[in-house]
């Protein structure tokens, strides 16, 4: 059963997550509609990755409630896709590109299932979309940073979810991969999917995202880029570690730490 498009993709209520009783994310409440590309911005240690791991139930939370397409997360596991940071896996692992992308289908297979021809076709299409079919039979240890990210994104595509969380997909990738990722984000949005992206590059935030979450332990602001990407809110998020300049066209140039 597909949820109506007016149902929010994600609702988070009063989420608090602590390491060693020290809160890293505090009292975050958000409602993200369907069909948006949302960036999470904030300084290092602001809890950006922690927030998405908490939302996905990968970390224990102190309290907080998560609803996905109006229901429990456990009821929408197929719809929710997580793309972890590249560094979170061992790239020397003996596995080929094709096999990693096929892992995107494992969520539907359960403990005993075997991938069908249909699963393989979907994995193949995802590789084609990310331009890595030629690398299908290579071991992942041979991939460059950009190629690794394309492998991760192809795997995410193969999951065919409607709500995606990506943790720092732009870190350490080449310019053409970055462009390919942005194109993919916008295409997904146009299909009505929702993508939440942890990012820390302020320069590109305005072009890449529809909406922004400004986070520094607490939620500083959430809304359309135009309303949120302002000097007062950004300096509130980044504290003193931010400089705002104005160029000759009176455009704000913001340099973050």
């Amino acid at each position: 059963m597909r949820a109506a498009t007016t149902t929010p993709a994600l609702e988070v209520r009063d989420m608090t997550i602590s390491y060693d009783r020290e809160p890293v994310v505090e009292g975050v409440t958000l409602t993200i509609p369907q069909g948006r590309v949302v960036g999470i911005l904030g300084p290092n240690g602001a809890g950006k990755s922690t927030l998405i791991k908490g939302v996905l139930g990968l970390l224990e939370t102190d309290h907080g409630e998560v609803r996905v397409f109006g229901g429990e997360l456990s009821g929408s596991r197929q719809e929710v896709v997580y793309v972890p940071q590249r560094g979170s896996v061992d790239w020397d692992f003996p596995v080929t590109v094709k096999d990693v992308v096929l892992m995107g289908r494992y969520g539907r297979l359960g403990l005993f299932g075997r991938p069908s021809a249909e699963d393989r076709r979907i994995a193949w299409e995802a590789m084609a979309k990310m331009g890595i079919e030629a690398l299908a039979d290579r071991q992942i240890s041979e991939m460059s940073g950009g190629q690794q990210q394309r492998v991760f994104l192809a795997r995410a595509l193969a999951q065919e979810g409607r709500l995606l969380f990506m943790d720092e997909p732009f870190v350490g990738v080449d310019a053409s991969t970055e462009a390919a990722i942005v194109e993919l984000l916008h295409e997904m949005r146009d299909q009505g999917r929702t993508v939440v992206v942890v990012n820390h590059d302020l320069q590109t935030a305005r072009e890449y995202f529809d909406e922004l979450i400004l986070l520094n332990k607490r939620l500083i602001a959430y809304g359309p880029v135009k309303q949120v990407f302002t000097a007062p809110l950004l300096s509130k998020t980044y504290g003193g570690r931010l400089a705002v300049f104005r160029d000759h066209d009176d455009q704000e140039i913001i340099v973050g730490a």
């Binding site: 972890p84 896996v89 692992f93 596995v95 494992y106």
Partner: protein, 297 residues
């Protein structure tokens, strides 16, 4: 000559058959578990499991007063499970890195075992020599059966749950996000590791079982580009070490466990040398091609 060297040992009684069977079972189960441990960067756990068998055996003797093999096996297996739990605990609440947590837990328990052995359990008459070095030919029938059951179970579980195991090893976060029982898979790995270590060390000893777990996986990782291949190469390495090691121990009249581990280490060294040579040769070829294409005509 060839007959005497290779065939004759099989014809004198059943000990060659039995020795090769026991060491092959050890090789298969240890190589498979070792592959997963290696990829999870937990090879040191093999060391831990082998050592805590001692306090497990001593504790079982003190609690039951029995020195029968099943009691000892049970004690050693329970000690292994307690150890993996304690390691998790120290990691989590002591904020220790995994290698440090493993090191703290197993040395402490091992020391406790020695302490108990030299105070309360002085009359236990444990054959330490056998615990440490094992004896492939001295394996009792019930141990052989346990080893066979464990090996069949490990092979069957690996084949049946290959995909979930692969995903949980490569990317535990994604496996958890898919709702796979990552914690249960880890606990299952620890449990089978504990049973395998204990079942194996009667044959090859507590120290050398560590080699049977780590060396095949390390060798296979040098050449395999898929997990399926890595598992097969590791098992092949283990079996080859077992059979060649048996022959070596007959020819040199030395400890069979020692011969098997030495053979395994040599196979690792040869593989390492071969991969190094192959890489150099490939690089040289690429350079030649580049030079050839740079020269006009």
């Amino acid at each position: 000559m060839l007959y005497e060297l290779f065939i004759e040992p099989w014809t004198i009684g059943d000990w060659m058959w039995r020795g090769v069977l026991v060491s092959s079972l050890v090789a298969i189960s240890c190589a498979i578990l070792g592959t997963f441990l290696y990829l999870k960067r937990l090879s040191l756990l093999a060391d831990a499991m082998a050592h805590v068998a001692l306090p497990g055996i001593v504790a079982a003797y003190l609690l039951t007063g029995s020195q029968s093999t099943p009691t000892m096996l049970l004690g050693a297996i329970l000690a292994g499970l307690v150890t993996s739990g304690l390691i998790r605990f120290v990691e989590r609440y002591g904020h220790a890195r995994t290698d440090a947590a493993i090191g703290i837990v197993f040395t402490s328990l091992f020391a406790l075992g020695i302490l108990l052995l030299s105070t309360f359990a002085r009359d236990a008459h444990l054959d330490l020599n056998c615990v440490l070095y094992g004896n492939v030919l001295g394996v009792a029938d019930h141990s052989l059966i346990l080893l066979a059951v464990v090996t069949v179970a490990i092979v069957a579980l690996t084949v049946l749950f290959f995909r979930p195991l692969q995903l949980a090893t490569f990317d535990p976060a994604l496996a958890a996000a898919f709702g796979l029982p990552v914690g249960l898979i880890h606990a299952g790995l620890m449990g089978t590791l504990s049973v395998t270590t204990v079942a194996s060390f009667e044959a090859v000893g507590a120290i050398l079982v560590i080699a049977a777990i780590i060396t095949p996986a390390a060798t296979a990782h040098l050449i395999a580009k898929r997990l399926e291949t890595m598992l097969l190469v590791a098992v092949a390495h283990g079996l080859l070490s077992a059979v060649l090691g048996m022959y070596l121990s007959i020819w040199l009249e030395c400890s069979s466990a020692g011969a098997m581990v030495t053979t395994g280490a040599l196979l690792y060294a040869v593989t390492l040398g071969a991969t190094w040579a192959r890489r150099r040769w490939r690089r040289a070829q690429r350079r030649q091609r580049l030079q050839a294409s740079a020269l006009p005509g």
